[in-house]
Point group: C2
Chain length 67, copies 2
């Protein structure tokens, strides 16, 4: 884990209207997003393999989001 940096995730919370964000909430939000990202990524990779490709393309990510 820990690929997504916390600072941009905190900026997204601020953009959503947060006046303040606790340090723990910023870290937790980044972790949650990374888990969600990994699930979508796994599905995208499966779909690329299913299409007999080694390269993940936009169409794989799009289909991963639909299923």
């Amino acid at each position: 884990m820990a690929e997504l940096p916390v600072a941009p995730c905190v900026r997204i919370l601020k953009k959503a209207g947060a006046e303040r964000v606790s340090e723990e909430a910023g870290k937790y939000f980044a972790e949650v997003l990374e888990e969600i990202a990994l699930e979508i990524a796994k599905k995208s990779v499966e779909l690329a393999k299913h299409a007999k490709r080694k390269t993940v393309k936009v169409e794989d990510v799009k289909m991963a989001l639909n299923g």
Copy 2:
């Protein structure tokens, strides 16, 4: 938009087993994650306000994920 950097998003795809990722797919994946993040963030901010707080806490993000 464009808070989440593309490189960590590509690393998540690689971690999920991607051999290669097209440049467009990396960018698209980052955009999609940011949209998802913004939705969760908006709900988290609403929940903090609902609890009469100016600070977003872990409990807000947790509840945002449940609803």
